[in-house]
Structures are given as structure tokens and as C-alpha cells.
Assembly symmetry: C2
Homo-oligomer: 336 residues x 2
Amino acid sequence: MFKPITLKDIAQSLGVSPSTVSRALSDSYEINEKTKDRVIAYAQKHNYIKNPIALSLRKRRSYSIGVIVCEVANSFFSQAIDGIESLAYSNGYHVIISQTHDSYKREVLNIEHLANRSVDGLIISMSAETKDFAHIEKLHQKGLPIVFFDRILENVKTHKVSSDNKEGSKKATQSLIDRGFKRIGHLANAPHLSITNERLKGYKEALIANNIEVKDSLVRYCHHGGGNQEEVVNAVNYFLAMEDKLDAIFVASDRLSVGCLLALNELKKYKNPPHISGYSNSDILDLLQPEFSCIRQPAFEMGRIATELLIQLIESKQEVTEFKTIELSTTFTQRQ
Amino acid sequence: MFKPITLKDIAQSLGVSPSTVSRALSDSYEINEKTKDRVIAYAQKHNYIKNPIALSLRKRRSYSIGVIVCEVANSFFSQAIDGIESLAYSNGYHVIISQTHDSYKREVLNIEHLANRSVDGLIISMSAETKDFAHIEKLHQKGLPIVFFDRILENVKTHKVSSDNKEGSKKATQSLIDRGFKRIGHLANAPHLSITNERLKGYKEALIANNIEVKDSLVRYCHHGGGNQEEVVNAVNYFLAMEDKLDAIFVASDRLSVGCLLALNELKKYKNPPHISGYSNSDILDLLQPEFSCIRQPAFEMGRIATELLIQLIESKQEVTEFKTIELSTTFTQRQ
DNA sequence: GTGAAAGCGCTAACAT
DNA sequence: ATGTTAGCGCTTTCAC
């Protein structure tokens, strides 16, 4: 069975000590050029690769970072992951992706699994279900480098990367108002998420700025982030069944936008359905739904920046006490 | 800094030897019940978790499996990954996902990285660009457990899981013929992929069965699997520019279906565009493009089965010499 | 029923 | 410039 060549093997074959080999391979200045060449040549010829596990044990570093997201089958997150990977690989880090499927239980399990010394740091986007943050705070206190992205945890002191949610929301809602829509519903994400509140604020601010009354009855939350289509369908049905017909719905997330459009599609019987506008990073939606105006987050860039900050955290010699909260701008695309 | 409690710590605190603690925690029969209880209680109270890295080094097993796919932002693959995860986790394995973005170079890099003792086995779907298989054959010969899925490597003797590509293709093409389409183009994937050939065969067989001439000029390959939209646009343009107008296009993959529909969307100026039918596991496409008939692969199930076979391979005591090639059926959905 | 010791593959003081 | 040694955290043989 698969038994790769070790450093010791090389040492033996070459009649030198393991430490010499180790030093030669890490190009130490104290090793004779000739020995170095011999060792490197031999290693290359035999396809030697350092055992990363032994290395990790020794250095107490795994050179891998963990990413916690609700799901990868989501344009926003898969683009963000591409950004994370691009920076991680170029810095010699490996990326381990873990999906919570927006379940609190899975989040706890996955984070603990990763944290227990198999990753050097974590990039986390909270699950929609999570209300208790003990599992994260514990790790953070223990000193595990963590960077939050998109779905932030406000009161944990570390780097945070998101888009300017309030602003994005406000822009989109304002655009609906500009187009003459007055009764605008808001299909919101799970109530505990940072993004939910910020996006709600943006929506409300736009209404207020235009002297439109803010009504809680026009806001519908999806407690599982749209994880089961049923809750989205229910919300859409609620909106459609309202006595005072809705003019438009502003949708709070990528997944919900998809869910909402699907729901509306199933309910074709309704004539004059409300106009839909919302968050989406999906190219498909973008082009197939020509009347869908959307807010796009710079997902790739957000991933890159989060990773950059995490690597800084991991590699910093002294303890970091200054933390950044970065908010990137979103792009709003007005259609038709 | 993040310094978790070790087995040695427990031993010291309890005044027993490390070996006793180790045995107690693995519930060895030779340990006194009382000692066991003491140890387990202490471990739980202090949140002790075995260091997986040390464990891996010792056992020469990482309890993690690597997954190589072109990209996760793809309905088919993300569903397959969900299937892989579901079985892996319930068997105590961890899943590491690695994306090739259909680049040969990335594939080699990622596979080597994972293989070098940080995973116990690999589930691979080949990159579109890959024509040279040495990197995989080498690992396979060394005894690393590998299961292929979807994009198979024919002449490597190991388990393979795919859908019945020829059959699926044939069904879809036949359905186009049944609807009166005669001049049917085929937008194919990269020519080296197993699925490309099988799907091409199905397409051709359907034509032949209906006495329609098979013309190579009606087949267009996308060498990067649709990785850059440009090649898809070019192919679509080629089809649209043909003198004898095409009635329909049969599209060979999930990603290409998206690309093809997008391209067509951009080229709206053409009246009476050809009818599109093809592979797709996307719920969005499914519902937003009501006239799009599609073949859906049982992605989740394929992932599950591949994982099951891989775990068998990993855990089998004696060498496995009998290998399975599993082909699951696809579902064809006829629209409008 | 428990402990001592060796070793998984590697690196880094500490020799020489 | 190179070798010796100890140790990262764990399991497992061999003693007792």
C-alpha cells in the first residue's frame, strides 16, 4: 500500500543524517552546496514530498484555512470561495470548505471539527439558524484566528468583511420608488443575521426618505434563509394574498431571489404579480429574467480581502488588537 | 495562543500514564471501569478532543477524503457534493473539496497536494482540459484509493460511477426528433472527456435510428467545457450562421446549457432561434426557461454511491480486485 | 489493570 | 558543514 518515501529514507540512501536532508531541502545556508545538490536531486528523482501531516504536528500549523458557509450551490458564495482560493493558494494555504446548510447543529459540528487543530484559521459566514454564538466565542477567546464575512457576528472583536448592506438596500428600494411603486414588500432573511437587519434598515430608510409609511406587515422573514422552498412560497403567498395589493417586493438575498422567482413562476395564475427586485449574484437570473433589477455584491473581492486579513492574523508575530471592518460597495443594475 | 489540552495533560492531572488515558478514551476492555469513568469525565469537562493531526501521523490515515471537481458553482456538482458529504460525515470522514476550474495544471497541483498523505482517498471528476493521465495513474499504482465519477477515466482499474450517458442523450435527441426537428446540432463538451463521447454516441444513435444523416459539421466542441463563455458564444454563432438553418440544438452539459441559453439571449436579434434541449440539474433553468426540455442526472445519488465505494476501498483489509462500473438512469423532462 | 518506551515523519536546538 | 537528540500528540507493544 501507498507508502511514500520519507526524509529518513533519503538520509539513509545518501549516507547523511536526516537533519542534513531537512536543512538541504529548506535551502539552509549552513549546508554545503554540493550536499544540497545531491539531496535535492535525489529528492526530485524519487518524487519526494514532505509529509504535511508530520509537518503540521511539528510546526503546530496546518497551512490550511477553513471556510464555513451555508452552501456552495449559491452564486454569491461560490464566487466568494473562488476569491478565497485565489489568495489562499498563492500564499501556500489550502482551503477546506464546510457547508452548514444553514443548520445550527451542522455549524457547531463543522466549526469544532475544523478548529481542533486541523486549520490555522477560519473564515465564517454565519448560518441562518444560529442564535447562540458560544461555540465561536470560545474559539475566538482561545486565540484561533477568525475573519467574518458577509454574515457577521457584531460583538466578536476580529476582522469583518461585508458589503455595504444598508446602502445597497436603500439604493434598490429607492429605485423601486422612483419607478412609481409605493406598496413595497420586503422578503427578508433569518432575523438573527447581521445582513438581515442592515438590509431591512436600508429598505426602511428609503421608504422614510420618500414619506412612505413603514409597515411591519410588509416584511416577511425566512427563518431558514430560504433553505426549504416552502417557507419562501408561504411568504410569497402571504404577499399575494394581501388585500391592498403589493406593487413590488424587495428580496434580501441571492437564494431568496431565486426562491421568490420560482414561487412566482409556480403561481402564474396571478395576473399582474408584484415587481421583483433584490440581491443576486447569479448570471443566469441576471440574463434570463430581464425585468429583474438586482444588487450584486463584489463576492470574489470580499473573499480575497477576508483571506488576506486572515492570513495576516495567522502570520502576525505579536497579538493583533486593531481590527478592520470593511464594507465594499455593491452594484445596482436597473433593468428595463 | 490557542493551545488545546492534550492527552498528556489529562494523564498528569489524574496521576495516571498517557497510555491509560489513551486506552480509557478508546474504551479498552483492559481498563478498570472506575479509571475509565474518571478519565472520560475529566476529558469531557475539559472539552478534550484528540488531536487529529497526531492521530493521522500515527495511524497513517487522515479520515478525510478529497473531491476533485471542475467547479462547485454548478448545479450538478454541488448536488453531487451534497451526496458525498452526507455519506462521508455519517461514516466519520471529512470532505475536502478542490476545484480545477477545468485546468490541467490546477488538476495536477490539487491532486498531488491532496494525495500526499492528507487524504485517504480521492473522488475524481476529470477536468475538461486533461489529456495526460500520468498524475492519476501514478497515484493509482501506488495504491491510493480512487473512485471516478461523472467524468471517468476508462482505463484505470477502479470503481466508476456515472449516469447512463448514451441512453440519456439518445432519449433527449429522440424527443427532439419526435417533435418534428430534423436538423439537430450538438453542442459538445471537451473531446477528451468520457461523457463527451458517450453523449455524442447517444445523439448519433438517435439520428441513425430515424434515418437522419449524421454530419460532423453539426457537432461543435467546447474545449474548456464552457469555462470561458466566449467559446460557447462562438459555437452558438457558428450554429446560427449556418446556411441550412438548424431546427434544434442538443446541449451536452449543465454548464453548457446555461452558457448556450445566455448566448442565445444576447443574440436576440435572430428570429426563430433553434430549439434548445440538453443536460441540466439547475432548478432555476428548469423553471425560468419553460420551453427547455432537459435531462437531469441523479447527482446526489451519484455522489453517495461514489463515496460508499471509496470508503469500502479505503477500509478493506485485503486488496480489492473486483471493480464496479455503475451507471444510474437519468430523468428526461419534456416541456411544453 | 497499568506503565514505560518506541515510533509515526519532521524540525530545531545543541553539539561538534 | 554536519550529526545527535528531543519532541510535536498520539497509540501500541511489551513489561510488570
